[in-house]
Symmetry: none
Subunit: 221 residues, 4 copies
DNA sequence: ATTTAATCGAGACGGTACGTCCCGTCTTGTA
DNA sequence: TACAAGACGGGACGTACCGTCTCGATTAAAT
C-alpha cells in the first residue's frame, strides 16, 4: 500500500502484520484523540511496534492517516434497489454513515487541509480515496443506462465532466452537512438532496428553467 | 470579536489596533506557511505584538484562524444581475475566488477538522462564517420572489430546510471541487453547477422526473 | 527605610501603612512559598496594594526581602545573665531561633547569593542586617570588661579585627549548622560551640597550645 | 553522578561526554552570568546539547548547579605540613580559594537557600558536597593523632559531635567571611581563625577558662 | 552451519513550538 | 502626585512530539 516491497530479497523481511496493526491503531487513536492529539509515538505504542518501524513504512502523520481512513471507504457498495434514485440514496446514506464515524471525520478534513499545500499528499488522497470511489458513480450510471433510466453518453469529454460534477456535489454536500453544518445526513435529508440532484441532472432545461416562466414554477427555494 | 469587551472600566484598556494587526499577520502567515507551519509565536512577531498579548485575546490557533478567515468572507456580495441564475452564478464565483486564496484554503479545512471534536469551535465557525453568509441565500431568494422568479414560501419550516440544503450544496460543492478535487471552480464549472442546482430546485417533479420517462430526458449524467 | 521620603511636598502623599503591610506580606509569602516561588505580584495582592505601589518603593525582589528579613533581627537582645559565657550563649540561641523561622531561612541565603554579584545589594545587606547587629558584640564585650572578665583593648585595629572574626565565627557557624548541616542549633550545640569559641579567644597561647606538648593536651578533637 | 546508570541494556546509550560538557558549561555560565541570570537553555547551548537532553539528566537548575559546584570541592587536599595547625591552615586556605571563585560563590548560596524548603535538595547537597569533604577532617585528625598532637578518641559519639562542630565552624566562618562580610579570607585572617579554633579545641578548660580568672587572660576579644 | 543484511524493540538525541508564568513598564480613571 | 487595575513587550520555563540516530538482538535467505 504505502511501501515498496523490500525489493532486494536478503535480510530480515518486514513483519506484514505490523501494517494492519498500525492502521488499526491509527483509527483507534483517531477515535479517542482526534487528529490533532494523535501522535505517532502513541500509535506505535498502541500497535505494539517501535517508532522506527512506523517511520520505515510511512513518511509521516498525514500519509499514515490517509491510508488508515482510505480503508474505511472501501466498504462502500452500490446497492441494487431497482431505480436510479434509490441506488443513489442508498450510496449517499452509506457515505454519510462513514462520515459520521469519528475516525473518518477527524482525520479526513485534516489531511485535506494539509493537501492544500502539499501536492504529493493531494495526489495520494485522490488516488487512495477519491478515485477508488468514482467506480460507484460509473457503475451507477451504467446500470441506469442498462435499465433505460438514462440515455447513453454521446460525448466522452462531457461525460467525464458530469461525473466529476456529480462527485463534487455528492461528496461536498454530505461533508458540508455533516462536518460544517453539524447536522445529521439522515434519511430525510438524503431524500431531499437526491431529489434535487437528480431533477437537476435530468430535467429538460428551457421550460421550467430557473430563468424561465416564474408563473409556472412550482419548486420551492 | 473574540473577546469580551473590557466591560469593567478600570485598568489600561486593550489596544484595539492589535486585533487588526494580529488577524492580518495571521492571514499573511497562512499564505506563506500554511496552517500546519503557522505558529503563534511567529504571528505575534509579525504583528509586532508579544505572544502573551495574543494569548490574552484568543484561546489558541484554531480560534484565531477562524476569526482571521471569517473576515475574508465578509467581502461576499450578492450581485444584482437581473436574473436568479446570474445572481447565483455571481455569488458562487465570488465564493470560489475566496476559496482559491491560500489564506482561506489552508486554514478553513483545518479548523473544520478540529471542529469535529470541539463543539465550541464548531459553534464559533457557524456563528462567524456560516451564519453570516446565510444572508446571501435569504436575500437572493427574496429578490427572486420580488422579481416573480420564485413563488412565496407557504411553509416556514420547509423554507428553512431548503435554505440549509442550498447552503450545504453550494458551499460543499465548491469546497470539494477546489480543495479535494483540486480543480478550479471557474466560470464554466460554476455555470454547469448552477444550472443543475437551479433546475433541481425549480423543475416540476413528476414529469421529466429522474424516475420518470427516460426517453425524453435530455439531461447529461 | 528603603525609600527617600517624597521630598517634594506637592501631590498626594504616600500611604505610610503600605510599607508595613508590604513587608508583612513579604514575610508571609516567604513562609508559605519560600524565596524562589515568591512573586512581587503575589506580595502586592496579599498587601492589598497595586504592583505599581510596590515598585515605587522598592527596586526589586532582593531589596524588598532584605528589608523584610532585616526587621526580624531587630528582636535580638543581649541578655544580662551575669557571665560572658552565658550572655554569648543567650544571644547565639536567639540568633539560632530566628534562623529556624522559615521567613528568615528562605530569604536570607538567597539575597546573600545574589549579593555575590551585586555590590549595592551586598552593601544593603551589610547596612541593614550585619552592621545593625554588631552592637551585640560590642556591648557584650564592654559589659564583660566592666565585669572584669575581659581586659581593656590596647590596640583599636586589632580590636576591630577580633570583632569581625567573632561575628564571622558566630554567624557562620550557626548558619552552617542550621541551613547546610540541617541540624538544630539547640541548647547543647550552642553550649559546645560557645565553649570552644570562648576558650579559643581567651586561653593563653604557648602552654597547652595546639602546637605545644601533645602529652599534656586534654582537649578533645 | 546525577542519573541512574542506564541499567537496562536496551536502547541507545547516553552520551557520557554530554555530562562533562554540561557541567563545564554550567560553571562557565555561573562565572559570566551568576546564578540568577543563568538559564538552562543557555547552558544547553553552551554545552552543544539540546535542552531536552539536559532535562533528561537533571531535574532542574538547582540540582544541576549542585553537581557543577560539587566538582570544584573535589580539588581539596589535606596538605602534609608537619603540624596540625599548619595542616588546618592549608586546608582552610584552599577552601577559601575555592569560595573566592565566582562559579562557586554564586551558585553555592543559592542552592543552600533553596534547600531550606526542599529536603531532597538538601540531602543532595549534603551527599555531594558536605559529606565528601568530611574526609579532610577525619584524615587530619587521624594524622594528628599519629603525630601525637591529639589524643585518641575515647567516645565515638562525642567524637562525631566534635567533627560536626569543626566542620560547621570552619565552613561557616569562611563562607560568612567571604560571602557575607565580603572580605577576603586571606593568609592573615586564616591564621587568626585557625589559632582561635585550635586553641578552643585543645586548651584545658578550667584554668584560663572563659568563665575563669580574667586577670590572667591574655586573649583578645 | 555460517555468513550477511535488513528488521525489530528500545530509547537517547537535536530541535521546534507549545502555553504559562512572572518580570518591570505603561496607560487608564479616580482620589 | 499617588493609587488600583490591568494591558503590554519580553524572556525563561518545563513539556510534548518530532523525526533521526544508535544500540543489541532477531530472523531469514544466501552462502
Amino acid at each position: 500500500m504505502q511501501n515498496r516491497t523490500p525489493a532486494g530479497r536478503t535480510g530480515r523481511p518486514r513483519n506484514a502484520a505490523a501494517d494492519t496493526a498500525i492502521l488499526a491503531a491509527t483509527r483507534e487513536a483517531l477515535v479517542e484523540l482526534g487528529w490533532s492529539r494523535l501522535t505517532l509515538g502513541d500509535v506505535a505504542t498502541r500497535a505494539g511496534v517501535a517508532k522506527t518501524t512506523l517511520y520505515r513504512r510511512w513518511a509521516g502523520k498525514h500519509e499514515l492517516v490517509v491510508d488508515a481512513v482510505a480503508e474505511l471507504f472501501d466498504e462502500l457498495e452500490l446497492p441494487d434497489s431497482g431505480s436510479l434514485a434509490a441506488d443513489i440514496e442508498g450510496v449517499v446514506l452509506q457515505f454519510a454513515a462513514i462520515l459520521a464515524r469519528p475516525e473518518a471525520r477527524s482525520g479526513l478534513m485534516a489531511v485535506v487541509a494539509e493537501a492544500t499545500r502539499d501536492d504529493a499528499l493531494r495526489e495520494r488522497i485522490r488516488a487512495s480515496i477519491v478515485d477508488r470511489q468514482l467506480r460507484l458513480v460509473l457503475e451507477g450510471r451504467a446500470r441506469a443506462q442498462r435499465r433505460g433510466e438514462l440515455p447513453p453518453e454521446p460525448d466522452p469529454a462531457e461525460s467525464a465532466r458530469t461525473v466529476d460534477l456529480i462527485f463534487d456535489m455528492v461528496a461536498g454536500a454530505v461533508v458540508h452537512r455533516t462536518l460544517v453544518s453539524g447536522k445529521p445526513a439522515d434519511q430525510e435529508w438524503v431524500h431531499g438532496f437526491t431529489r434535487v440532484l437528480l431533477l437537476g441532472l435530468t430535467a429538460r432545461p428551457g421550460e421550467p428553467d430557473g430563468a424561465g416562466g416564474p408563473d409556472k414554477a412550482a419548486g420551492r427555494v
